[in-house]
C-alpha cells in the first residue's frame, strides 16, 4: 500500500479515482479553490465539466447516472454553491438516482459562526439525502468518501452529500484508500424469505388475469432479462411507470404501455380488472394510483421491492417480496408453471384501439394544414434518431408527450424527472446523459418554459462541444398548467402565457445550429439536418398553442375515470 503524506484535496481526488469516477460536474468558488487547484494536476484522469449554474451540475450528474448506472459526481463551493444544488439533490432522492455532491465548507474553526458563505449544508440536506456528512479533518476523507459512494450506489440508490471543510482540504494526511463495502447499521438488500417467493409464485400460478407493473427498480437492479423471462414464462402482460420505461422494449408483445395520469388506457383500466397485480420496483405514487380507495380493490397484490419502507406505504399488499428484483424475480420464475393467458392479453386490444383512434392517431398524424402537434414531432424525431437513442425530457406537456411517443429498444433510455417533476431538469440532464453515454444519440424534448429555467447550460454544451439534440416544443404557454386551467378552472389562464425570445437566435449566439419549424415540411427538413452531423442542434418546433395531453386521469380520480378527448370533460 502506498502511504505518504498528501493534502486532503489530493486524498479526495484519489478516492474519487479509486471509486471509478472519471467525470465531475462542478463549479468553483472560494471554499473549494484548493480542491480545484489539485484537480488541475489530475485533469488527465478526472474530466471536469464546468456547468453554468450548480443546479445544472446536479441534474447533469443525474442524467449521467441514469444512462450509465454509475454514480454521478458534483463539486461545488460552499454557501450559494451548495444551496443551488438543493433541487437536484431532492430530485435524485425522489427518483432514486445515485449521486455524490461534494460541497466546500468554511474552515472548521469558523463553523457555526456565520462566516462568509457558511451555510448549514448538512442540516438543509439531511431530509433529502440518503446520507449527509461533514468532513472536518483530512483523516476522515478516505473513510467518508468511500462510504458516500457505497451508500449512494447500493440498495435503493440515492444522493449523498459530503460537506468538505476547507482546512480539511489543505491539511495533510497519511492517505491509504480504504474501500467501504459494509456498514453495520445499513442493510442495502433486505432478506428474502423462501415463503414469500413461494407464496408469490403460487398466487401467480393460480391467476387468471395477472398484470405486472414495472418500475425503475427493475432497471436499477439490472433485472431486465429476469423480468422478460418472468413475464414470458407465465404469459403476463405488463406496463411501466414513467421511470420504469425502457426496462422492456416498446415493441415487446407483453408490453402494454405506460401507467398513470397520462398513461395508456389499457394499463389503467386493467389495473382495476386483473386478479393478481404484481408490482416490481415501483412505489405506487399517486400519479400512478389515482384515488387509492378505488385502486385495484379486486386484486391480490404482490410487491417486489428493495426498500422495506415502500412495502405497504400507499397500498396494502397481500404478498411482500423484499429483496433485489434481479434475484427475487429469478427465484419466483423458477417456481412458475408455464401458462398462457391469451384471452386476457387479447382483452387489451379494445382499449388500445380506442386510444389509438381517439388520441394517438390524432396526435401523431394530425395532417392537413393544422399546426404541428407535440406527439407528431416526438414520433418523427424518435423514428429518425433510431432505436438506440436516449430520451431526455423536461417537465410538463413536453415530458408526457416525450415519454408517450418516443420508442425504446434498450434499457436506460429514459431520463426524466418523475417524483419531483422539476422544470429545468431537461437541458442539464441531457448534458449528463451525453457524457454518460457518449456513443448514443441524446434527444431532449423541452418546453418553452422549462428550457428557460436552465437555459444558461447552452454555454456548457458550447464549451464541451456536446452532441445534444434539443427539440423545443414551443407552445407559447406553460402548457401543462394551462391544460389544468382549461379543464378544471374555467379557462382562466392565470399566469400561463409566455412571451418568448427568439430561441433560434439564442442557440446561434451559443454557436449551436438551430432552426424554426412551423410546417410539416420544415419539420422534416430540420430533423434531417439535425441528424446530419454529430454536433449540437436546437430544433424549435412551433406547435399548437392549446394542445392537450390525453388520456388523462384527473388528480385524485379513480384510474378508470379517464378523459380521452375534450368534450368528455363535462360529460364525465
Amino acid at each position: 500500500m502506498d502511504k505518504k503524506q498528501i493534502t486532503g484535496s489530493e486524498a479526495l481526488l484519489r478516492t474519487l479515482i479509486a471509486e471509478g469516477v472519471d467525470t465531475i460536474f462542478g463549479y468553483p468558488g472560494g471554499q473549494v479553490i484548493p480542491l480545484y487547484d489539485c484537480l488541475y494536476d489530475y485533469s488527465d484522469r478526472l474530466k471536469h465539466i464546468l456547468v453554468r449554474h450548480e443546479q445544472g451540475a446536479t441534474h447533469a450528474a443525474q442524467g449521467y447516472a441514469r444512462v450509465s448506472g454509475k454514480t454521478g459526481v458534483v463539486l461545488v463551493t460552499s454557501g450559494p454553491g451548495a444551496t443551488n444544488t438543493i433541487t437536484g439533490i431532492a430530485d435524485a432522492m425522489m427518483d432514486s438516482t445515485p449521486i455524490v455532491v461534494i460541497s466546500g465548507q468554511v474552515p472548521s474553526p469558523l463553523l457555526g459562526s456565520d462566516a462568509f458563505q457558511e451555510i448549514d449544508v448538512i442540516g438543509i440536506t439531511q431530509p433529502i439525502t440518503k446520507w449527509a456528512y461533514q468532513i472536518r479533518k483530512p483523516e476522515e476523507i478516505a473513510w467518508a468518501v468511500s462510504r458516500a459512494f457505497y451508500i449512494a450506489s447500493t440498495g435503493r440508490p440515492g444522493p449523498v452529500v459530503i460537506d468538505f471543510a476547507k482546512d480539511a482540504q489543505t491539511g495533510h494526511v497519511d492517505y491509504v484508500y480504504e474501500k467501504i463495502s459494509h456498514i453495520r447499521s445499513y442493510q442495502p438488500i433486505p432478506e428474502t424469505e423462501e415463503e414469500s417467493i413461494a407464496a408469490a409464485a403460487s398466487l401467480i400460478n393460480g391467476a387468471k388475469k395477472p398484470f405486472a407493473l414495472v418500475g425503475q427498480g427493475v432497471i436499477l437492479s439490472g433485472a431486465e432479462k429476469e423480468l422478460l423471462a418472468f413475464l414470458e414464462k407465465a404469459d403476463i402482460p405488463a406496463a411501466s411507470t414513467v421511470l420504469g420505461l425502457s426496462a422492456m422494449p416498446s415493441d415487446y408483445p407483453l408490453n402494454k404501455g405506460m401507467l398513470g395520469m397520462h398513461g395508456n388506457v389499457g394499463p389503467n383500466r386493467k389495473t382495476n380488472d386483473c386478479d393478481v397485480l404484481i408490482a416490481i420496483g415501483m412505489r405506487f405514487d399517486d400519479r400512478v394510483t389515482g384515488n387509492l380507495q378505488a385502486y385495484a380493490r379486486q386484486a391480490k397484490i404482490i410487491h417486489f421491492d428493495i426498500d422495506l419502507s415502500e412495502i405497504g406505504k400507499n397500498v396494502a399488499v397481500d404478498i411482500p417480496v423484499p429483496g433485489d428484483a434481479r434475484e427475487t424475480l429469478a427465484a419466483v420464475t423458477r417456481l412458475l408453471k408455464p401458462a398462457s393467458h391469451t384471452e386476457w392479453i387479447h382483452s387489451f386490444t379494445a382499449d388500445e384501439q380506442e386510444e389509438y383512434e381517439k388520441v394517438i392517431a390524432r396526435e401523431i398524424h394530425p395532417g392537413g394544414d393544422r399546426r404541428l402537434r407535440m406527439g407528431e414531432v416526438v414520433r418523427k424525431v424518435s423514428d429518425a434518431a433510431g432505436a438506440d437513442a436516449v430520451l431526455v425530457t423536461d417537465v410538463g406537456q413536453n415530458q408526457m408527450m416525450g415519454v408517450r411517443y418516443f420508442r425504446y429498444s434498450r434499457t436506460r433510455s429514459v431520463v426524466t424527472s418523475g417524483g419531483l417533476g422539476t422544470m429545468g431538469f431537461g437541458l442539464p440532464a441531457a448534458i449528463g446523459a451525453q457524457e454518460g453515454a457518449p456513443d448514443r444519440t441524446v434527444c431532449l424534448f423541452t418546453g418553452d418554459g422549462g428550457l428557460q429555467m436552465t437555459l444558461q447550460e447552452l454555454g456548457t454544451i458550447m464549451q464541451e462541444k456536446l452532441n445534444v439534440k434539443i427539440i423545443v416544443l414551443n407552445n407559447h404557454y406553460l402548457g401543462m398548467v394551462r391544460q389544468w386551467q382549461e379543464l378544471f378552472f374555467d379557462k382562466r389562464y392565470s399566469a400561463t402565457t409566455m412571451e418568448n425570445p427568439d430561441f433560434v437566435a439564442i442557440a446561434r449566439a451559443y454557436g449551436i445550429r438551430s432552426r424554426l419549424a412551423t410546417t410539416r415540411g420544415e419539420l422534416d427538413e430540420s430533423i434531417a439536418e439535425m441528424f446530419e452531423s454529430d454536433t449540437a442542434y436546437m430544433l424549435v418546433a412551433d406547435v399548437e398553442t392549446q394542445g392537450m395531453v390525453y388520456p388523462m386521469v384527473p388528480a385524485g380520480a379513480a384510474i378508470t375515470h379517464i378523459i380521452l378527448e375534450r368534450e368528455e370533460v363535462t360529460r364525465n
Binding site: Q126, P127, H182, R184, S185
Partner: protein, 181 residues
C-alpha cells in the same frame, strides 16, 4: 378501527452527529407530536438509544418506524405499546422548605408516593419521584394544591421490553455471523 394510542418507539443508532434531526424530520413530515424523548448511550459501547413516545395509529406507526429504520446510521427501530414495556419517568419537585415542614402528614405523603428528598436548605427542598406519568402527576397535583410547587420537571420516558427477544443484540450477532462467513 384506526384509533390513536400511545406508542413507545425505541431506536438504536450509531453515535453520529445529527441523528436526532434525521429522526425528528420523519415525525414532523407525518405530523406526529413527540410526547417525550430520552436519549442516552446504550449498554453496547458506541450505540445510542432513543426512547420516543407519540400518539398515533398503528398503521402510521408501522410506516414511520420503517422510514426511521431505513436511515443509514440507524441500527434498529421498533415500537411497542405500554403492555409490552416496563417504563418509568422521573420527576423533580421544588417546594418551599417552610411550607413543606408545616404541612400535615409529610411523612405519609412521602411514603404514599414513594418519593425522596434530594436536597434541602432553609429556602427550598427538592423531591424526586419516579413512576408512570399518572403517578408523578398525582404528586404534582397534591403538592400544588397544598403548598404550591416552585419548579417542576419530568423526564422523558425510559423503557425496557418485557419480551424474551432482544432485537438489537440478535441483530448485531446475526450481522457478525454474516461478516465472518
Amino acid at each position: 378501527m384506526n384509533t390513536k394510542q400511545l406508542y413507545t418507539v425505541i431506536i438504536f443508532s450509531e453515535n453520529t452527529v445529527g441523528l436526532l434531526n434525521q429522526i425528528t424530520i420523519i415525525f414532523t413530515r407525518r405530523q406526529l407530536n413527540i410526547e417525550t424523548l430520552s436519549v442516552s448511550p446504550s449498554a453496547i459501547r458506541g450505540v445510542h438509544k432513543f426512547t420516543i413516545t407519540t400518539f398515533a395509529e398503528k398503521d402510521m406507526m408501522d410506516k414511520v418506524v420503517k422510514q426511521i429504520d431505513k436511515r443509514v446510521d440507524i441500527l434498529k427501530a421498533y415500537y411497542n405499546t405500554d403492555e409490552d414495556l416496563v417504563h418509568q419517568e422521573i420527576a423533580l419537585y421544588k417546594v418551599s422548605t417552610g411550607l413543606f415542614m408545616k404541612m400535615n402528614g409529610v411523612e405519609e405523603l412521602i411514603r404514599k408516593y414513594n418519593a425522596r428528598i434530594l436536597e434541602i436548605n432553609e429556602d427550598c427542598l427538592v423531591l424526586e419521584k419516579s413512576g408512570h406519568y399518572a403517578e408523578t402527576q398525582a404528586l404534582f397535583e397534591e403538592l400544588s394544591h397544598s403548598i404550591g410547587v416552585l419548579q417542576f420537571i419530568r423526564s422523558g420516558r425510559i423503557a425496557i421490553t418485557k419480551s424474551k427477544v432482544e432485537r438489537l443484540s440478535d441483530m448485531l450477532s446475526a450481522m457478525e455471523r454474516k461478516i465472518n462467513m
